[in-house]
């Protein structure tokens, strides 16, 4: 068991070092691979955070350009996704500041038009499609009702499975704040779910 853990840790460290080397060289093939690897996770994070798919897609591109330009700052010591999410977060905040001096809380409501949390493009049966869509719409509405600051940490913890310390690094807040946001977020999510099911 410990051998497996050791091998996994060594492999992850090697992979991070390889990413850091590739980013220092600004190697397009490394970036191509990273975009492929993290496409869904990054977009999901941005959609959850911004509550607006169109804005999230624009920021998705800008994030990768920023990764290319600032790649030398990634030292390979922390997980790549932590660094990636932190960049995406800063970009979103910058974008919002340019538009209006709003905080992340102002993003509580999803943008008008298309549903911000679109169901996945799958090929289920008609029944599954109907039941699934209904449940997804319900969940999406409940999630969108949770304030963005809580939604963000909930998503990082329970969907991205990041450690509390990693979340703290992404959001740039102390560990105690992250925990407090998670507790409040859980409570808010549960209330929203209950409300949407009622």
């Amino acid at each position: 068991m410990s051998l497996a853990v050791y091998c996994a840790t060594t492999w992850m460290t090697d992979e991070r070092a390889e990413i850091a080397r590739g980013l220092r060289r600004r190697d397009p093939s490394v970036l191509d691979r990273l975009i492929e690897q993290y496409q869904h996770r990054l977009l999901r994070y941005l959609v959850y955070l911004a509550g607006n798919r169109s804005l999230a897609e624009d920021l998705f591109q800008e994030t990768w350009l920023r990764v290319l330009e600032r790649g030398r700052q990634y030292d390979g010591k922390s997980p790549f996704e932590t660094w990636l999410f932190a960049i995406a977060r800063h970009l979103l905040i910058d974008t919002l500041r340019r538009k209006s001096p709003a905080s992340l809380d102002a993003l509580r409501d999803p943008g008008e038009g298309a549903a911000p949390l679109d169901p996945p493009a799958a090929d289920p049966s008609a029944y599954e499609l109907l039941a699934g869509r209904e449940q997804e719409t319900q969940v999406a509405a409940a999630v969108a009702g949770v304030p963005a600051v809580y939604r963000e940490v909930l998503m990082l913890r329970f969907q991205e499975d990041l450690a509390l310390e990693e979340i703290s690094a992404v959001v740039g807040a102390p560990l105690s704040t992250v925990k407090s946001r998670l507790y409040r977020g859980l409570s808010a999510l549960r209330q929203q779910m209950e409300r949407s099911q009622a």
């Binding site: 600004r26 397009p28 999901r44 897609e57 969940v139 998503m155 509390l164 779910m193």
Partner: protein, 171 residues
């Protein structure tokens, strides 16, 4: 049952999910949930909410990924070209600075001689010397400024535009 007990249970339900519980507290919670329907329902509700959160999938569009990769490659090429241009510039600036330092005393003597010949006040020929001294650096700065303007104008030529979104819809 004491309301504090339920409050503690509620806190531990969330704590178990957020940061995990020590064995003793987990055992206490398990025992409490077996005997308290309200708290057990609350725990189940929280679990369901989190499962639902995982269930909502957001996937990136293929076109978005391809356009992003293309933009990144273009930008990488631009940055590489810029870096290639910078190296000779830095080397030549270094050499120019070195040459200026070495020739400063001769320049000073030359300008002093010219000032004497043309009966110029000391301030005038010294100002001339300073201008000549800064001329290469000023020209380089202007060239770099113009170059950066051109490069910034070309930056990110391909965007995830509404037209592309329309194309995605048509696929």
């Amino acid at each position: 049952m004491n309301p504090d007990v339920h409050q503690r249970a509620q806190h531990l339900i969330a704590a178990a999910l957020v940061e995990g519980l020590p064995a003793a507290e987990q055992a206490w919670l398990d025992q409490h949930l077996q005997g308290c329907a309200v708290c057990a329902q609350s725990a189940a509700g929280t679990r369901r909410a989190l499962e639902a959160l995982r269930w909502v999938a957001v996937s990136a569009d293929r076109t978005l990924v391809e356009v992003t990769q293309q933009r990144v490659r273009l930008r990488a090429r631009e940055l590489a070209e810029r870096q290639e241009r910078w190296l000779p510039l830095v080397v030549s600036c270094g050499l120019a600075a070195l040459a200026s330092l070495v020739t400063l005393s001769y320049l000073w003597q030359g300008f002093a001689w010219m000032g004497e010949q043309w009966k110029l006040p000391a301030l005038a020929w010294q100002a001339g010397l300073v201008s000549v001294w800064f001329l290469p650096a000023s020209l380089t700065a202007v060239a770099l400024w113009m170059q950066s303007r051109v490069t910034n104008g070309n930056h990110g030529t391909m965007h995830w535009s509404p037209a592309l979104r329309g194309r995605r819809g048509g696929e």
